[in-house]
Structures are given as C-alpha cells and as structure tokens.
C-alpha cells in the first residue's frame, strides 16, 4: 500500500511544548486480536523524533503487544505502522530492525555463551564476513572491519559502564548488567528508533539508576525512544511525552503531570 509520509506535528498538543517536531513513527488504528482476545484494539499515536515517549498502562493494557507489532514480531490484525514513509506493519522483525528500529525485550535476551564484546559485534550492521560468501573469503576480508567494530564496541562498553567486562560470558553478568548490555547491543545496531520493553524490570536500584543514566545520555544524543515501563518515577524523569493505554486503546496522552491529573487514567489503574 502507499504509505502516508509522517509529517510534523505539534508536540504542544500532547506535551505542553510549543515547537513543532518531526514524527519518527506513527501508529494508526492498530488492532491485534488473538482469537476473542483484543490485546490491541484500535490504538493510534505518534512518536516524536529525538525524545523518549513513555508507553504506560496497567497490566494487560496491550503495551508490550504494541511493541511486538511495531518491531515486526507480530503481524497486526489491522492498522498501520508508518515509519520512514513506509507502512511496515507487515514487515518481519529482521527487516524492521534493518531499517533502524531496534528493540529490547522484557526478559533479558543476551547471548549467554558469547562474550560481552561478541554480543555487541553480533549487532553491528552488515559487518564484513557476516555473510557466508564473506566468511569463505577468509579473515583478510573482514579482519580490519572487525577491528574497527571492536574499537567501537569498547567505546560503547565504556559508555554503558561495562568496561573491563568485554571478554566475560554475557550469561555471567548480573541482571542489571545484562540490561545495560542489551541496550548497548541495541545501540550497536545503529538504531534510528529504540523500543525499550521494561528495561528496569528485575534490576536492583543501583543498576536501575545506571540504566536510567544511559537512557538519558542516549536522549541527549537525540536518539528517538519508546519506553514501556511500570516505574513511574523513571517515566517522569525520562519522558517528555507519555501515552497511556488501557484495554488495548490509547486513553490519554501528555506530560506526566497532565497524565497524573487525568481521571480516566486513574480509573484505568485503580479499576474504578
């Protein structure tokens, strides 16, 4: 189908700001039904470029399903996902990621028997020697590119507080370090949009602060992110724009202060 190009929208109507910002991603009337269960039921929203958009809601609201659909792991029952002038709703996950929309998972998804550095290298886009033909050409074909990738990997590890861990098995890191590695790995893939599915889940408070700092640093670099999270403190500190979902639909949008004052949101969380 012919996709509608995401245009610019006034972030002021959703976050109290005045300037216009570009749209990185647009979700239009998205539905994801599993038999009789309507996990997502007509959700629509835009994601502004260069900010962190929070996606919150009570359990079962459909947040993670939305992330699964946007990232290509689920094909929606109906609706569109507009990204870079194309409707990517039917694209498989690898194609979505290849186009620059990379995700992390609710459960740690490191490659446990690969080293921390190898985890990063696996994510580097189109590294020489990663095709069968390139591998058959031998180390002379890919060694230099790999050395450059390793140097970049060390830079990422330093940035994410994992320096000195490069040669350790990723499976031997602590829960919080695995989260940091997973975000670093997603960044190594060179994303335009980063989808984060509960990055603070199961992380101790000290490391949670490190994860939060890492996300704030990425935001400062202008990386667009969508953050699904239950930790409202983190959402308040990190997100300029917050979308609230309940029963598969978007019920509110705004700054965290605006969301907190919204009665419909309170009803959704409290079930009243």
């Amino acid at each position: 189908m012919t996709a509608r190009a995401p245009d610019r929208f006034d972030i002021g109507r959703i976050a109290g700001a005045r300037e216009e910002v570009a749209v990185a991603l647009e979700v239009v009337d998205l539905k994801m039904h599993f038999g009789g269960v309507h996990a997502v039921d007509g959700a629509s929203f835009e994601v502004a470029e260069g900010v962190i958009t929070g996606l919150i809601g009570p359990n079962g609201a459909g947040k993670s399903t939305v992330i699964d659909v946007i990232s290509g792991f689920l094909k929606p029952t109906a609706g569109n996902v507009i990204y870079r002038d194309a409707d990517i709703a039917a694209w498989p996950a690898d194609r979505v990621a290849g186009a620059g929309m990379v995700r992390t998972f609710q459960l740690s998804s490191e490659f446990p028997r690969l080293s921390v550095m190898e985890n990063l290298l696996t994510a580097m886009p189109a590294l020489r020697g990663s095709t069968l033909a390139g591998a058959l050409r031998g180390p002379r074909h890919w060694r230099r590119a790999e050395a450059d990738a390793v140097a970049r990997g060390y830079g990422l590890l330093e940035r994410f507080g994992l320096e000195g861990r490069a040669d350790e098995y990723a499976g031997e890191l602590s829960g919080g370090q695995k989260r940091l590695l997973e975000i670093a790995r997603a960044v190594a893939a060179g994303p335009r949009v980063l989808l984060l599915d509960e990055p603070f889940a199961g992380v101790n408070p000290t490391l949670a602060r490190e994860v939060e700092s890492a996300l704030a640093a990425l935001r400062a670099d202008g990386l667009t992110m969508v953050l699904v999270e239950h930790d409202m403190g983190a959402i308040e500190r990190l997100c300029e724009d917050v979308i609230v979902m309940a029963d598969g639909r978007v019920i509110a949008r705004g700054t965290m202060a605006e969301i907190a004052a919204n009665h419909e949101v309170a009803d959704a969380y409290l079930g009243s």
């Binding site: 998972f105 446990p112 190898e118 696996t122 069968l132 390139g134 390793v150 970049r152 893939a189």
Partner: protein, 338 residues
C-alpha cells in the same frame, strides 16, 4: 607389522578422518547453529550414493545392480558430486523441515525425513539398488597406480588425511568468522538475533546446507574406501554417535569435537572390542552402545560443555573508539547485507 594389522590401522585412520569431516559438519549445524539434525546420516548417505554412481559407470541393463546417474567420472569429481548431493538435499529438506520455529519440532521433522528416505531408498530399487545397495565402486587412481592391497591403503590414507586437513581449515574459517559468530548467537537466542536485523531462517538454512556438504563429502570418501553402500550402513545409530562425539568433545569447538570423534569412534567403540570375552559372542557390540550411551548421559548431565568447551573470542589491546554514533548512515560502505 603384518599386512592384516597394517590394513586394520589403515581402516581405523580412514574411518577416523571420515568421521571427523562428518562431525565437523554436524558441529556447524548443531554445535554452532543449534539445529537438531536427527537425520544427519541421510546427508552422508546422499553423498555416498551419488559419489558411487558417478564413478561406477552407466548401469548395465540386466546387470546385478541398477541405479540412476551412472557415469564414469574421474576423481575428485565423485567427491565433489557427493558434497553437492549432500548440500542440495540439505537445501530441499531444510526449506521445509526448518520452517518450525521450535528446534525440537525441527529435530522431529528431520528425524521423520530420515525415516522416509530410508524407506524410499530401500524399497525403490531403481534409485540405488534398494536394500542390496551399491558395490564395486572404483577406488580413486586404483587402476592407474596398480598398487598392492596394503600399499594402496596407505595411499588412500594420504588422500583422506589431506582432505581432512583441508576440510578442517574450511570449517575453522567459517566458524571463526562473523558469520560463525552469528550462528552461535542464533543457537543462543534466535529471537534476539532477529531483533538485531538478522534473517535467522536464511542463516539457519546456510548452516544446514554447509553441514550437509560436509556430510556428503564424508560419505563420498567412505564409499570410495569401502567400495559399497547399502541402507544397512546408515542407521539412526550412526546419527546418534555423531551427536555423542559433538557433545563429548565440546559443542561448538572444532578441536573439541575432533577429540570427541576420536574418543567416541576410535577409543570407545574400538576399545570395547578388546575386552576379554566373558559372555555371548556379540557382547562387545552390545557393550559399545551401553558405554557410549552412559558416556553421553554423563556429559549431558554433568559436563554439558564437553572435554574442550567452546571459548569466546578474546579481543585485547584495542583502544575505545571516541564517541559511538547512534545514527545509521545511508549506504553501506565496505559492508555486506545480513
């Protein structure tokens, strides 16, 4: 040393090399890629059958054996044809059998394919002479060299050893590359790898086909040595033994699985035969599978990483790059598609 003992050692060495090549192929599939190919032996057999028929010459009408593709091609074409047959069969089978996302379902599909292939090859005599199988497969340079039985045996050991070294460098080149690293990531977490932009189905199929080529080459080499091949030579037991070699040696480590191969096939299977006879005459054969089975269970339960575990590649002495960029640049200078 007597001729009989010499030939015994020749046989041991040739079988060891053939098994090494086959196990390296399975290590690519299972050790690196995580594919449970419970039908691995059929790909070795495909190589053996095709390698045999392209060397046997055209089938004679009314002769003692009937087969397809009869040709009289010079060495090493039968070997290459065997590898191609293993790879081609892997491609056809893999496109279907690797479709399920769950690797246990893939394993069941491949086991089923193996059983179906056994029935087809055994019952349809027009393909590869049915249950009786193929025999009188010519030996490479056998007529030209005109050597004695034992001398030719040592010559064949030389050919086999050279080919084994060649295949080792090939498998090492592949498994040490970024392609091999992606295979190991595929084994660990296919969903996460897909989420990083890698087409996991394609990557898995590539590993499957390359492993099939290794299996095919090993089969073609073996049939040239023993001169015959029939369905009785490729049973599920053989596939199990290849898996045992990979698990005992160290899944994912080419040198480890080489050690596993020697331990499984040469030390244990041969060693058991030298035990003093203390019961009925086939006790050694029965003990082989018991000993191997117990060893397999021990390693799976207590030493799952094998004798020589797979080690991650070390990267030392590199300076960090200044500031990683988060932007994707258009184009792909010096890169490859995933």
């Amino acid at each position: 040393m007597s001729a009989a003992w010499q030939y015994y050692f020749i046989t041991l060495l040739v079988y060891a090399c053939v098994n090494l090549i086959a196990v390296w192929g399975l290590n690519l599939q299972f050790g690196l890629g995580g594919i449970l190919n419970f039908g691995y032996i059929i790909f070795q057999s495909a190589g053996a059958y095709v390698g045999a028929v392209v060397a046997l010459g055209p089938a004679v009408t009314g002769g003692f054996q009937s087969y397809i593709l009869g040709a009289n091609l010079p060495w090493p074409v039968p070997l290459l044809a065997g590898g191609a047959a293993g790879g081609l069969l892997s491609l056809v089978v893999g496109v279907v059998a690797l479709r399920p996302r769950r690797i246990d379902y893939q394993g069941m599909a491949l086991l089923t394919v193996g059983l179906i292939m056994t029935v087809i090859i055994s019952d349809y005599t027009g393909l590869f002479n049915g249950v009786a199988g193929l025999s009188d497969v010519p030996k490479p340079f056998g007529a030209a060299l005109n050597l004695g039985f034992v001398s030719y045996g040592w010559f064949f050991v030389g050919i086999t050893a050279c080919l084994t070294v060649l295949m080792y460098f090939l498998v090492r080149r592949l498994s040490d590359s970024p392609w091999g690293r992606q295979l190991r990531a595929l084994r660990e977490n296919p969903r996460a790898l897909q989420g990083l932009g890698v087409h996991v189905g394609s990557k898995r199929l590539q590993a499957f086909v390359v492993g099939g080529i290794f299996a095919g080459v090993s089969g073609a080499l073996l049939v040239e040595f023993i001169g015959s091949w029939s369905p009785g030579a490729w049973t599920l037991d053989e596939t199990f033994l290849f898996f045992v070699a990979v698990v005992i040696g160290g899944r994912g480590n080419n040198l480890g699985v080489a050690m596993g191969t020697i331990v499984t096939f040469t030390v244990v299977l041969e060693g058991v035969q030298y035990l003093p006879l203390f019961s009925y005459t086939s006790v050694a054969e029965a003990l082989q599978i018991v000993v191997i089975g117990l060893a397999f269970i021990f390693f799976v339960a207590w030493k799952p990483n094998g004798l020589i575990p797979e080690r991650p590649k070390r990267f030392r002495g590199r300076e960090p790059a200044p500031t990683p960029s988060f932007a994707i640049e258009d184009g792909n200078p010096g890169g490859e598609t995933r």
